[in-house]
Structures are given as C-alpha cells and as structure tokens.
Amino acid sequence: MSEPESMVFVVDDDPSVRRGLKRLIGCVGLQVELFGSGQEFLASEHPNVPSCLVLDIRLPGISGLNLQQQLAKTNVQIPIIFISAHGDVPMTVRAMKAGAVEFLTKPFRDQDLLDAIHLALEKDRDRRQQEAELAALRERFELLSPREREVVAMVVSGMLNKQIAAQIGTSENTVKAHRSRAMEKMRASSLADLVKLIQRIQAFPSKSR
C-alpha cells in the first residue's frame, strides 16, 4: 500500500462525532484515522507524511491538553486543532500558547475545520521540508574534517584568514585551502552562502546531540 500524501488523525470519545468527522474530512479527499482516546493515539504507528491532529479537549483518561503536553515532551511535532464542547478562555489560551493551530467550539462550521486542517497540514509540510533541508545540510557538514570545521567556525564568527592562520598556527594559504574545500563539501556558491548555511545548522542543532 502506497504512503498517503497526508494524514488527519481524529481523537474524540464520542463515536458519532468521530464517524461524522471522518465523513466530512474524507469528502475533501484527505485520509482520516480515528481514535477514541489519547492512549490509543499514542500507541499507534503514524506514517511519516504531513499530518495533523483533530483533538477533543475532554477525553476519558488523558485529556486533550495533557496529550498535547506529552507529544511536545516526546518531540512529536504534529499541529493540533482542538475541538471542544465547552471551551473556556483559560483553556483556549493554554492550548494556543502550547502551539495549537486552532481552537474550535463544537459544533463548528465545516469550512472552519477544513481550513484549519489545511493550514495545519501546510504547516506540517513546511516543517517537514525544512527538517529535510536541515538534515541534508547536516549530512554535508558531517563530511568536513575537524580542521575544516574549526576554520569554518572562525570564518562564520567574522575572523580574517590572517587571524585564523595565526590562531591555529599555520599559513594563510593553508587556511584558504581548508575554506575552499569546506565550501565545496557544503555546496556553497559563495563565502556569504557558506556563512548562511552554517548559521542555519547552528540555529537548529541536531536533536541527536
């Protein structure tokens, strides 16, 4: 079975509501998967495609807000759209602060939900895109030798070749050679491009580290 293009997960304890949501979301051509509780959702495997979570606040066991916290803690970055029968202001604020895409009060307009889902999927797609680019950059960065990384770090911090040579006790030409090899490995078209790429890696340090 081929991987779907995107995925919408729905967690609600009311079976009628779940089935209705599946029909509605499904009719705009999206793949929907249903869960009766947060535990069920956590226990399931999720395909690695742009996806979002439509989450009821009041659930048996883990509440919607708790599920949001647990996902954040375990670094599952899935955009969440909250749906609630009785959303009050503090609850909404808490959900939105924790990064929810939208907070809809049941019953909601279909278009509002679908718009939110599309927005969320777009967000997730972007995030995945960026993560993919970043992963590629890191892969290239891994190719640099320790000396090249050292030189690149000093270049990014704005030191001149002469200063770098003095710092590491070598000639200016050797520094230049390291630099150009690093630019080659990082596929940077210019020195400015190299600086940008390295800064991006530094801004999003690898999760494994």
Partner: protein, 609 residues
Amino acid sequence: MISADSALSGSFDYGEVARSLLIAIAASYAALDLLGRATPARGRIRLAWLSGGAIAMGLGIWAMHFKGMMAFRLPLPVEYHWPTVLASLLVAILASAVALYIASRQKMGPVEVLTGSVILGSGLAGMHYIGMAAMRLPAITHFSPVRVACSILLAILFSAITLLLAFSLREETRWSGPRRLGSATVIGVAVSAIHYTGLAAASFTPASPPDLFHAVSISPLGNNGIVIATLTVLTAAIATSSVDRLRSEERLRLVIDTLPAMVWSKSPDGSADFLNQRFLEYTGLSVEEGLGWGWMREFHPEERAEEEWRAAFAAGEPFEREAKLRRADGVYRRFLLRAEPVRDKLGNISKWYGTSTDIEDLKRAEDELQQAQEDLARVTRVIVMGELAAAIAHEVNQPLTAIVTNGQFCLRRLEGGTSNPEELRTAITEIVNDGTRASAVISRIRDLLRKRTPNRTEIDINQIIRDVTVFLRTEFTRNRLLLRTELAADLSRVPGDPVLVQQVLINLVMNAIDAIRTSTEGRREIRIRSARNPEGVLVQVQDSGPGVEPELASHIFEPFFTTKAKGIGMGLSISHSIVESHGGRLWNTPSSIGALFEFTLPTGDAGVS
C-alpha cells in the same frame, strides 16, 4: 308488772315536732355540704373541715333530739340533769365524726358501710337513750326491750342509707346543691324517725320526786335559745363552706380562663358542656351558642367532619388533632386539640376534658423552615447543576456536533454532485439518532431541574442508577475515575419519585467523586451496587477515597454540615429526608475502603418478599 292503765300518757306538740324535723334537715345539709369540702382536701384542712362538720352535724342531731323531747309533753314537770345532756351531745358529735370520716374517704366498700352504720346507728341510739336518762321527773321510765331493739336496728339501717347518700353526693357538681337538699331531707327525716321510735319504746309511771341535783328545767326561752344557737352554728358552717367553695371556684375559674389555651369539657358523646372564657373571646360566641354542638361551627368548613369528631369521641381513646378554628373576625388559625376522657368506676366515660392550643405561629414558622429547606434543596440542585453545567454542555453538544458534521458532509456531497445514496443514508440515519439522543439528554436535565411535587410511581432502581451514571459520565472521565456497577437482576420495583431518588444518588455519587478528587493515591474507583433486601431494595455507593472520619460520622447528616470548601452541607441532609419520605433509611457504614453509604427503599408491601 305495771299495768298499762297506770302509765302516764304523753302528748306531742306538733309545732315542736316540725321544728325538730327542720333542725335535723338543716344539720344533715350542713354535714353534706362540709363533707363536699372535706373530700378533696388533704391534711390539716381536711381535719378542720371534718371536725367542723362533725360538730355541726352532732349539734344539729342533738338539738333535733332535744327539740323532740320538748315536743313530748307529759303531765308532769320535767327537768334535765345537765352533765348527762352534755354527754349525749358528745356522743352525737363523735358518731358524726366517724360517719363523716368514712364518707369522705377515697373508697367505701361494704365493710366500711357496715362498720360506719353500726357506729353511727349505735351512736345515735346511744345519744337518744343517754338524753332520756338525763330526764328528771316524778315518774319511773320503763323501756320496752322489743321497741328498743327495733329503734337501734332502725338507727343502723338509716345510718347505712345516710352514709351511702353522703358518699354519692360528696363530689361537687352542677346539681350538688338541690340533690344535697333532697338527701338532707331524707337523712333528717330518718334521724327524726330514729328519735321518735326510741321515744315510743319508753313509758312512764308516776313515782316519787326525783333527785334534782344538777338538774335544770328548760324554760321556753332556753328551749328557743338552743334552737337559735344550733341554727346559728349550722348557718355559720354552711356559710363558711360556701364562701370557701366560691373562693376556690373563683380561683379555678381564673386559672382556667387565663390559661393560654382554650379549655373545654364535653359530655361523653362530644357535645360541649363547658367552654372557657378564652374560647368564647376567640370565637366571639356566647356561652349558649358554643355549648352542645355549637362549637362545631367554628371549624373550617373543609375540616368540620362532624362524623369524624363523633367517631373520635365514640372511640373513647385520648386523641389529638390539628384543626383550623375561626376567630371572631373570620380569620382561621390552626389549633392543636387534645382530649382526654374521664371514666367512672364502671369504666364508662363520664366526661371529656380538653384543650385547644393556638399553634398558628408555630406552624407558620415550621412552614417557613420547610420552605427554606425546600429552597435550599433547590439551591443545592442548582449548585450541583452549576458543577454539572459543563457536563451538560458536553452531553448536548456531542450529538449536536455529530449532527452538524454529518449534515455538512451531506450538503457537500450533494453540492459536489458526487452523492452516493447509500453513503448519504448512513449519514442521515446518524443525524436522526443523534437528534434523538440530544433530546433525551435535554429532557433528563429538565426533569432534574424542575421543582416538582413528589410524583410517585413504581421505580426501577437499576434504571435510575444507569440514568445517573450516564448523566455523570463526564464527571467520571474528567476525574479519571473508574465506575463499577453491580446491579441485581431480581429487584422488584419500589414506589417512589424517580427524580428525587435520582437526586439522592447524584448527591451520593458526587460526594464520592469529591472524596476521590482530593485524594492523590490509590485506586480511583466508585462502586454502585443494588441488591435485594428484606425491606425492599438496597443501594450502596462506595468510593476509594479517604472515608468518613469516625468523629464526624454522627454529624454528616445534619443540615449545613460540610467538609468541602465550597459545600453548603445540604446534600446528605436532603438525601436523608428524601429517603425517609420514601419510608427507607440512609446511613453510613464504617468501611475499610473509603466511604460506604447505603440506603433502602421499601417495596409497597414492606417486609414481604
């Protein structure tokens, strides 16, 4: 032997005979009158009345006797040996004292009557013959033994009659005056009869002049003096007694009229024969209007139920009931009526005594308290509702969300022209089901909120438990509680108001939820059980919370007692009254796990399985 011819023939002065009779009657009346005062009295007062009575009676009888002697005229001068005369007076007084003592006692049986009449009879006869022995005349007195015996027997017989009459007359009643007069006449005649029989037993033969030492002749003046003195003593005695009676009657009337209650007495059938001043003032009736069955008119028309009253009086048991009585200005106030029968020796009711106490203000306060409790009950419900408002919104919004979502799906399908009838049918079926579900939720909530008068039907306690658990489902999920229900299948239906019983269960379950909410460790579990019970059905609600502290256990059913920061302490109190109003019991059972509350609801035929 002395021939009859030689006997002196005496003649009677009939005027004196009549006067002697009058004195006897007056003396008897005075004795009866004083007896009436002596009977209820105690101690020294009783002694005083008895001595006074004995002196008056003895003096009267003696005076009668003396007058009788005066009425008997012999053709000889007669003088009297005065020490003997005094002795006869003393005997009369002593005999009277014994008679009064016996007649004034609590009980008078045959033995008392016999002893009393023998003493009184022989006393009277003794006085007579001692009196005759005081005569000093130039003649010999002969006594016919048969006649003497007859006179003594007659005296005893009449004494018995006198005692019985006196005993039955001693109670002071409305008719005691005239009846006393009648009896006094009978007794007076009897006493005179004894005297004249005794006199007839004697005959006189002329002889030498007597020894006149200590003898006096009785002049007409002395004769009248005795009469006047005697009558004065008797009048004084009767007057004293009357004044005392009037004073004590006045005291009693003052007490009865100023008591803060209506006081009445009724004849055995219930018709009134006495109504106190307060009754008359309140109702504005005159004595004549109120007596008999007139008091019935003052009852509220809805409660008059004359038959019911007659039945209560006929039943002959002390009774009390509440009734509305009309005030003179037409306002009705509630009264507590209490009646107590008084029975005679045979056990028949001789009279009813009763009071009617104004309890309007008390009742009004009671009503207000009850109203306040009802209001509080409603407030509690509203508070419970407030806590449950979120749950309600959830309950109603879930089906609505499903309806709206499915509806929007259908519209999209139809607009897109890609509709598949089977798909639409499924969605629309769900819409219909969820619509029904939402309306069921709403009517349940409406039932719960509506203030209703108890609506008794046959209730299925398991259904109520299921309803409540559905209603509180979101409370369980929100507080991460496990609910276990163990419902017995063989329960009979019990009479009761489903909404009120639901309220009891909601209160108990909400308490259980609150108990666990605050506890952080252990199982989070609530168990609801239903079971058969000798009384009917038993329902248990048990939680895994910290339980009821033993020293608080005796207070938890009191109104306004609470351990919750936001509680008002009415839940258990109200639940308790609801269960009690159904004839059941609600209690807390000490338990090793959390708190255990149990209540029973009796089946219609309580106790019969």
